[in-house]
Amino acid sequence: MKKDDFKVHPAVLDLKSDMEKGKVTRREFIRYSSLLGLSAAAAASMAGFPWSGAAWSASVKRGGKLKIAAPVHKVTHPAQFSWIAPSNQLRQIAEYLTYTDGDNVTHPYLLENWTASDDLKTWTLNLRKGVKFNNGDSFTADDVVFTMNQWLDESVGSSMLGMIGDYIDQTGIEKVSDHQVKLHLKRAEIGIPEHLFHYPALVLNHRTFEGDFIKAPHGTGPYLLESYREGEQCVIKRRKDYWKTGADGKNLPYLDETVFIDMGTEMAPMIAAIQSGDIDIIDFSDISATEAYQALKDDKNVNVSPSTTNQTRVLRMRVDLKPWTDNRVRTALKLCQHREKILALAYFGQGVQGQDVHVSPKHPEYCPIDTPKYNPEKAKQLLKEAGYPNGVNVDLAVGSGWKEIVRYAEILKEDAAPAGFKINIKTMPNSQYWEKWTEVALGITTWAHRPIGTMVLNLGYTADEDGKPAAWNETRWVDKEFSELLSRANGTLDIDKRRKIFCKLEKIQQDRGSIGNAFWINVWTITRKRVQGVKAHPSLYLKLDDAWVNA
């Protein structure tokens, strides 16, 4: 590709001037401009940072074996993943087009770079050249088109369809040349590079993939699949002709072998195994790590690195069911959250307080907003005004497998009693909660990490074209002004203007929205001290191409 093919998106220049005026922080500049196709290195140099990609010393050691405790699920089609753990195994064999790092900055990966049209409706993806699948096939545009068609094929049933299906269909994917693909969107969308790193988005080999990846494990990644035994273990071995080179100038990966061992779901044996050195890493992507955090935080042989996430537990009230139809009742319950106490007891203080707004302080467009104080007197007053002078009896549905949610519920029950709420906690197995999470009147739902604020607001708090609440709108809360502001935010690139809209969105959600949220949680990447180069990630994705072990 010639240098002048690469056009800097005009918004990047706006962003740069915003940064220089102090309106955007440097980190946000890097984040947003890398989304728009500027390489992270270029963005960093525009922001005045030295880029330290693989600068760290050549003291890496080659060879060795890594043992990871992780569930080994039955898998066939990567696009059908509904758990992160299998993606953590197969992402060592196949790869993604992009890579979103622990700071929410998205880099090109199997892409050389990408560019977006000014209206954000046409995206040009330039593929990395010289990449080969582990069976010798070259990686080309056909593979990208094939993979994307798999996502959008309804018979595959990929969760990617829900994520990208409303802005692109199969006719919108155009192969321009062997190394260029154009996406023609139905509407403006800024999140594409991040969507390409969603965990089911592994790039498949169009020549050999026939629906079962384990039968034809042909990816572009650093490892070869040696064996895969569901419920037991998954063994992967070093590949010799991987396209990335390490700090020592030779091909990655450093490790000879990695074994994923299924140790079940009991935490105690896994904790004991990492303490004794029988395993090096525990994969916590699909299970709660609070117990391991408690047990291992002071262990001298173990590194516990936290990541702040945009994961939260949402106290959601269905606005089409009594008594939650009345905003005064909703506000009253929100006022009964003693956030400091809830965070301290339910999650051991490992996170940040929530503000009854589904936008996290770690979201780039977050606009600082006051944290409401615990105020049972005011809540009691509000209940009285709403016509419940003697208090109100409500059922609170929680999944008993989420320990922090049960604790949240128990604390809320205790602290809401003075205001007149008589909360009956209805526990059920998590699977049963997922069967009716959008149906219960009052419940606490866990929401996953999403790197951009608009992603979650679009999912949870909007209506479709007919005015019916969207599928994941669990509270049925649809607010005209909120929806209008949100669709404006969706099409607004300028981070400063975007944040101004978010100030209003957050205020509306805090004042008359349908959720309370007391905390945003941390997650932990827990490794033995000898493991090097495994970086903490808010989604707990494991990247092992440049991991190595210190004897």
Binding site: M267, L345, G401, K403, I411, T427
Partner: protein, 315 residues
């Protein structure tokens, strides 16, 4: 559990029926005599009495309510303020244990504000006795196809593992104290029915039953006035063991998240929650309720075993 089930039917085999043993009224003194002549039974009695008294006096012997949260001191070990320490929300473990005993032995919380006397485990066993004894009497007295139908149906129920049956029932009708009573009753019925049937088969051949039949008494009269009172010895001992199993079942259900909903001081769910903190060095919240369940169940078993030994010796 398997072992436990084998012993369930033992009282019937080992204890031939005697109308005077464990009888009330004039027999009460006799029963007390038997009780105190067995060291095993006395040890069991003390354990059981300890928990019964704790349960009865819970409001007077605890400083805190079982739900009071002191959020500055979660997961504490034993101290002057909290004799057994605190749980993960800073609640006093002794208070929770004592009020937990109440739910098992003394009160059945029907709703948040309404309860009836008699513990959840006791009501469960009582209900299974009522249904099981009725079915067993009919089955044993009439015999024939009534016997066949009732027993085959109960056999079918017994073929399902007990824990699984509990899980199915509680998962289907929801977790609450009343539903736990239902579950204990349903699960216990087949065992009681088998026991009562075997006793009935024996007793109905006795002369006094023949005499009643000759007098022209109704079958109901014969079953409930002639046969049942004469079978009560083994039934009472079986019931005592059964209370133990019921407490065990409550613990299991609570541990699996299907017991009484939080924040009620259910022993099983206390263990389940406390378990999370064992590895981080606070074993108290899991330890005490485990000991409580164990001591109460052991106490009931010792009591029943001691009684049975003494009874068989007197034969």
């Amino acid at each position: 559990m398997e072992q436990a089930r084998n012993t369930e039917t033992d009282p019937a085999k080992e204890t031939p029926v005697d109308e005077n043993i464990l009888g009330f009224g004039p027999g009460l003194k006799h029963a007390a005599g038997i009780l105190f002549s067995s060291k095993t039974a006395v040890a069991g009695l003390f354990l059981v009495l300890f928990w019964v008294l704790t349960a009865l006096l819970a409001p007077y012997i605890t400083q805190y309510t079982p739900t009071e949260q002191d959020w500055k001191s979660p997961n504490q070990g034993p101290s002057m303020e909290h004799p057994l320490g605190t749980d993960e929300l800073g609640r006093d473990l002794w208070s929770r244990l004592a009020y937990g005993a109440r739910i098992v032995l003394v009160v059945l919380p029907v709703t948040e504000n309404f309860w009836i006397p008699g513990g959840t485990a006791l009501w469960g066993v009582f209900a299974s006795l009522l249904i099981g004894a009725g079915l067993g009497l009919f089955s044993g007295y009439y015999g024939g196809w009534i016997d066949e139908i009732i027993m085959r149906l109960l056999d079918a129920m017994m073929s399902i593992p007990v824990i699984l049956l509990y899980l199915i029932i509680v998962a289907a009708i929801g977790a609450s104290a009343v539903n736990v009573v239902f579950a204990i009753a349903i699960v216990g019925t087949p065992g009681v029915a088998r026991l009562v049937r075997s006793l009935t088969l024996d007793i109905r051949t006795r002369d006094y039953v023949r005499a009643a039949e000759t007098r022209g008494e109704s079958p109901i009269y014969i079953m409930f006035v002639e046969i049942l009172p004469n079978a009560k010895g083994p039934i009472i001992i079986d019931a005592m063991l059964r209370v133990g199993y019921a407490i065990f079942a409550m613990g299991t259900l609570g541990f699996l998240g299907l017991g009484l909903p939080p924040p009620s001081p259910d022993w099983g769910s206390m263990v389940a929650k406390g378990r999370e903190f064992i590895m981080s060095g606070s074993p108290w919240a899991a330890l005490w309720p485990s000991l409580a369940i164990a001591s109460l169940v052991v106490g009931l078993n010792l009591l029943a075993d001691g009684l049975r030994e003494e009874l068989t010796r007197y034969q």
